[in-house]
């Protein structure tokens, strides 16, 4: 078993270990989970290092390549008759997403330190979900990809339905059904690619070497893009997100908003744009307009929310809009911005949801106007909250700025296949969000943390515990790290994006297939 397989297996093995421990030792369960995800984190660091050692020599090669180069590849035939194989590997986009996932799950486990009901099942499902997420980011066989994708979505139903709060059954049902509708679109798209190519394979690299007919691309690009868009909170398919996030328990919201929503942006870029570049050219402007709505709609929607989780969920809708906006910009800066925004938003929103859980655990309310002055009793949590909030409004020095400026510049620079005036106008409209975001972030945070303390009970609340400090500290450090030394992560991502650009500019493959 290679490194990449170990990384996918790590949460699964931890899950097995968790399942074997009886519930009465629930304290041991969380320690096992921490150790397991901690090992995953170290493994990720090592894989990143290995990737960088091997990939840095290929930068010049990738400048002209039309297929992305994979590293640490493992390929084992599975159902040979159908052309399904176990095909995993890593490239710059995957590696950034894997780092994100490892950090979020580690912090998520720490943030779930106090789950006492059915601890075993909770951690088992959480780890199963993460196995799915790692699988999606690392597989290059569409069948395997889809399998992992479903594995990542389904445990969510139980996690929200059982450990959630509020109208949890409704939220769980809605979330699962909507995401399944999305994955149905994706599945149809995958099968269409499989049949149209005539290669009898689900190998993404092989499928990408075919040039599909323009008509085929025109039909199936939006299908796959929207299919992934559902989980990436594309307007108007985003409504699962506010309800789902607010009902989910802390770690699940962290993972869901932090990582699962990224599957959407990742799939849209990795599969829709990569395999169907002509479709992307035809639809780019449409999706750019739609995601501009996303960005503004989400941020205006957040202003009037009274529940902290709804507030963050709408802000996520806005920020995920940036991801798909960057993808729709169809240029290097846009793609890079999209990947950076996925990373940055993942960390930031993971931090947000983690903190909301911690605050809720103390105040037992998430209603913004009922809180006030909490900075005085919980300075650590307030500081972290402010850092997350500032990252979300794109303050330089934190990761959000790097991602957003890439996306804005990408949108403004535009591409040869969309009307330049239109992309520029859309970009400028989208920049309005920096003001609206400032309005809702500062309003919300001021109501929660500043002003006099409303409720005398709040006077006795305690600041973060050690595990909470560790969990939030790691996330804050990541935000600062990416914000101050952005070139480190950019150097990882950028070379892998060159082939995407080359594919758009040139012609990929010569076999024409499709409708």
């Amino acid at each position: 078993m290679g490194l990449v397989s170990w990384l996918i297996a790590m949460p699964f093995l931890t899950m097995v270990a968790v399942v074997l421990v009886p519930q009465k030792h629930w304290r041991a369960i969380r320690w096992i989970s921490v150790v397991g995800t901690g090992i995953g984190l170290l493994l990720t660091a090592y894989i990143t290092y290995r990737y960088w050692i091997e990939a840095r020599n290929d930068v010049d090669f990738l400048r002209t390549a039309t297929l992305t180069k994979l590293y640490l590849v493992e390929r084992v035939p599975w159902f040979e008759a159908l052309g399904i194989q176990y095909f995993v590997g890593i490239d710059g986009i995957s590696v950034s997403m894997v780092i994100l996932t490892s950090i979020i799950i580690f912090c998520g486990v720490l943030a779930s330190w106090n789950v006492e009901t059915r601890t075993k099942e909770f951690f088992a499902l959480l780890l199963l979900l993460v196995t799915g997420v790692f699988g999606v980011f690392l597989s290059y066989d569409l069948f395997l990809f889809f399998m992992f994708y479903e594995l990542a979505v389904l445990p969510m139903y139980l996690l929200i339905g059982i450990w959630g709060t509020g109208p949890k059954e409704y939220a769980a049902m809605k979330l699962t059904l909507m995401l399944l509708v999305g994955s149905a679109f994706v599945l149809v798209g995958f099968l269409a690619l499989y049949h149209a190519s005539g290669l009898n394979t689900f190998d993404l690299q092989a499928l990408a070497s075919i040039h599909y007919s323009d008509r085929f691309q025109w039909w199936f690009f939006p299908m796959i893009f929207v299919g992934f868009g559902v989980i990436g909170a594309l307007f108007p398919f985003h409504t699962w997100s506010p309800d789902g996030h607010s009902s989910a328990p802390t770690a699940v919201s962290m993972l869901h908003a932090g990582v699962l929503m990224k599957l959407g942006g990742y799939g849209a870029l990795r599969i829709a744009v990569y395999v169907l570049p002509e479709g992307a050219k035809a639809w780019a402007l449409f999706f750019m307009a739609l995601t501009t709505i996303n960005i503004l709609y989400g941020s205006f929607g957040a202003i009037m929310q009274r529940d902290l989780k709804y507030f963050t969920a709408y802000s996520s809708v806005s920020h995920c809009g940036f991801v798909l906006f960057g993808v729709a910009a169809l240029n290097l800066m846009g793609f890079k911005g999209a990947v950076l925004q996925m990373f940055s938003h993942g960390i930031m929103t993971g931090l947000f949801f983690g903190l909301i859980g911690m605050v809720y655990g103390r105040t037992h309310t998430r209603v913004i106007p009922e809180m006030g002055g909490l900075a005085k009793v919980m300075p650590w949590l307030a500081t972290c909250f402010y850092i997350a909030g500032l990252a979300s409004l794109g303050l330089p020095g934190l990761s959000g700025f790097v991602a957003e400026t890439h996306v804005f510049l990408g949108g403004f620079f535009g591409n040869p296949w969309s009307n330049t005036i239109a992309t520029r106008v859309l970009t400028i409209v989208a920049t309005l969000s920096i003001v609206v975001t400032a309005v809702y972030v500062l309003r919300g945070l001021a109501m929660v943390f500043q002003g006099p303390i409303n409720d005398p009970h709040f006077e006795e609340l305690r600041d973060a515990t050690l595990t909470e400090k560790l969990s939030t500290g790691v996330l804050v450090a990541t935000l600062l790290f990416v914000g101050m030394l952005p070139w480190l992560i950019i150097n990882l991502i950028e070379p892998s994006l060159y082939p995407f650009i080359n594919r758009l500019n040139g012609v990929a493959g010569n076999v024409v297939a499709g409708l």
Binding site: G301, I303, L395, H406, L409, T431, L442, A446
Partner: protein
């Protein structure tokens, strides 16, 4: 000069160390470490200035050097942001101003903030601010400028909201951030435009003019050296591309100016600055008077060649500046809160600096020098005014001038220093303000802007009037309250920085600024132009005289006058109702008519659609389930009926 990076780096390191380690351990130590780091930065800044002006003495060419830079962010090949340190006359000037005032304010704050809750946090934020401001000053490219621009914004936000359990402070900090953020939207779009066309025109420019030939071989499209270069500007302005009839260069510059206007609180984005006085007074002195608010002026000065190339943009700068200086001076005559009067005076003086830049042209850029000169002198006397006000507030525990009075005997040092600063701002010889103001007036008249000159003259009179109004009310007359009666002189840690600033306010006017800071041709420091200086001094003396007439004594004359003016007085006192207007726009229009409908639309329409599809699925399932009765008779009935129907259809079709 190689070590110029130390100047912004020292406060940054101190910020991290103080915030993370020292402040949680010992509050006093946090204050000391923070202060020492700024003092060290100030020493470095003086050393740099010495070195730079020894290498390039007064009256000679002053090249722009980048002794240190580092690739920070590569947006795409050919569009790279290098963080670095730019050393040229205006950046050296600003470094001196920022480090000096910041060091003095740090020292002062050790006494002023003594015993306050959050003492360590205060110094951490103050360090963050100083770092950001210095980073802004030394920015060699527009992206670093924007980055630090936002960082000064956030440190200002944090410090205005320092007393975070006080609702008014929280509201003021939000307002400051959001208003300046709105302005930064313009700046951001301007930056995007400049980066885009900078990038697009880059190859042409390098081949046509030859970058190496200009000694700019490593220049990036976002660097000021490039953006200000005539070759680029010519191409950019000559693109022929227009937006609603406006030349793109002008459009970009006006957008950038929007950012500058936000930070420098130009009308109509001025509303945040008076409220920003909710922060601790030393913060007002440092950030909202001497340094951060001049960032807008500095930005315009930094891009002066580009602004000058587009004359329209510069005209906008001049008009907005002139209007703001008058508008704010008028409001300043009626305010009762000592810090608010000073805030309006800051607005007015910033308008003055902007006006000076605006009346300049590329060939006759005396206003450029004058503006930087006024920035320099203003920083000292305005910081002094605020620190003096702080000392008074510290002693009397109120901000209202009507609860002070007679303090000149109780607080002699504060009184003398405050008087020096008041004379300086009023433009009385030989204090600093006289020289810089004189130069501004001369440059306005010299470039033929008679109307603007008239406005500036009027403002000079008003300034003298409202400054002496607060001076007389605060320091003369009877003790109006118990607090004023029991006031004590400020401790040494507070009055020493004030004394130092008083010396600077008195002597900095004699600095031959034109020899150091100039644009284009070296114009000799024009000395004192008596034809302008005499009327200006007379106007100032008139202002002082009126203030003395109205406010020495019990102030009943002023009350009578206010009552005579009636509605006009009320309108001025309520700051022409701009706060109310903004409140109406944000709450009644944006929140109520955009945000709330969107939230509703999302809940009812978009989400309703999702729920409706669920409902349709369930209902249709329910309806269909009635067919599954489980009774053989029913099934038989349907079966027979179906057969009959099919037979009928077939029969009809066939016959």
């Amino acid at each position: 000069m190689q070590h110029a990076w130390l100047i912004p780096a020292l406060p940054l390191i101190s910020f991290a160390v103080t915030g993370l380690f020292i402040s949680p351990m010992s509050k006093r130590a946090a204050g000391v470490v923070a202060t020492l780091s700024i003092v060290a930065a100030a020493v470095c800044a003086y050393a740099l200035a010495w070195e730079y002006f020894t290498a390039y003495p007064a009256g000679h060419d002053h090249p722009a050097l980048v002794p240190w830079s580092y690739e920070w962010l590569r947006y795409q090949p050919g569009l790279t942001v290098n963080v670095g340190v730019l050393v040229d006359p205006i950046s050296v000037l600003l470094m001196i101003v920022v480090t000096t005032v910041s060091a003095l304010v740090h020292i002062y704050s050790n006494a002023y903030m003594h015993g306050e809750y959050g003492f360590g946090r205060y110094f951490t934020f103050l360090n963050l601010f100083t770092f950001s401001m210095l980073g802004l000053v030394v920015a060699p490219n527009i992206i670093q400028m924007y980055v630090c621009w936002e960082l000064v914004g956030v440190s200002s936000f944090l410090l205005i909201g320092f007393y975070y359990s006080k609702p008014s402070a929280v509201a003021a900090s939000k307002k400051a951030f959001i208003v300046t953020r709105f302005a930064d939207l313009g700046f951001l779009v301007g930056v995007i435009l400049l980066s885009y066309w900078g990038f697009k025109l880059y190859p042409d420019w390098t081949t046509q003019v030859g970058a190496a030939q200009n000694g700019l071989s490593h220049v990036q499209p976002v660097d000021f050296a490039y953006l200000n270069h005539p070759a680029f500007l010519e191409q950019f302005a000559g693109l022929g591309a227009t937006f609603i009839g406006i030349n793109l260069l002008t459009l970009a510059m006006v957008l950038v100016y929007m950012g500058a206007a936000g930070k420098s609180a130009m009308f109509p984005l001025h509303i945040w600055l008076p409220d920003a006085m909710e922060g601790p007074t030393p913060v007002s002195a440092l950030i909202h008077a001497a340094t951060m608010v001049v960032a807008g002026v500095y930005l315009v000065a930094r891009l002066f060649p580009a602004f000058a190339f587009s004359g329209t943009a510069l005209m906008v700068v001049a008009c907005v500046g002139a209007f703001t200086s008058l508008f704010a001076a008028v409001i300043g005559t009626t305010q009762d809160d000592i810090k608010r009067v000073l805030a309006f005076s800051t607005l007015s003086q910033l308008g003055y600096m902007m006006l000076a830049l605006g009346v300049s042209t590329a060939d006759h850029a005396m206003g450029y020098t004058a503006s930087m000169f006024h920035l320099f002198t203003h920083a000292f006397f305005k910081a002094l005014l605020f620190l003096g006000a702080g000392a008074v507030i510290h002693a009397v525990h109120t901000n209202s001038i009507w609860e002070m009075g007679g303090l000149r005997k109780k607080m002699p040092i504060t009184h003398i220093t405050f008087l020096i600063a008041t004379l300086a701002i009023s433009g009385i010889w030989p204090f600093a303000g006289f020289f810089s103001k004189d130069e501004i007036l001369a440059s306005a008249l010299g470039n033929g802007h008679t109307f603007i000159f008239g406005v500036a003259m009027l403002v000079a009179g008003l300034t003298a009037f409202y400054m002496f109004r607060i001076y007389f009310v605060t320091f003369w007359g009877p003790h109006r309250t118990h607090g004023a009666d029991h006031a004590h002189e400020a401790p040494a840690l507070m009055w020493m920085p004030m004394a130092f600033l008083a010396i600077l306010s008195a002597v900095t006017g004699f600095v031959p600024m034109g020899q150091y800071v100039s644009m284009g041709e070296h114009e000799a420091h024009h000395g004192v132009n008596l034809a302008i200086a005499i009327p200006a001094t007379l106007v100032a003396l008139l202002g002082i005289g009126v203030a003395a007439f109205l406010y020495i004594g019990d102030g009943s004359r002023a009350t009578t006058l206010a009552a005579r003016l009636g509605v006009i007085y009320q309108a001025i006192k309520q700051k022409f109702y701009f706060d109310e207007l903004y409140l109406f726009v944000t709450h009644k229009i944006i929140f109520r008519n955009i945000a709330r409908p969107i939230a509703w639309f999302d809940k009812k329409v978009v989400d309703g659609g999702v729920d409706a599809s669920g409902w349709i699925t369930r209902t249709s399932g329910l309806l269909l389930s009635y067919l599954q009765t489980g009774q053989v008779q029913t099934y038989g009935l349907w079966f027979t009926g179906g057969i009959a129907f099919v037979v009928l259809v077939l029969w009809a079709a066939l016959v």
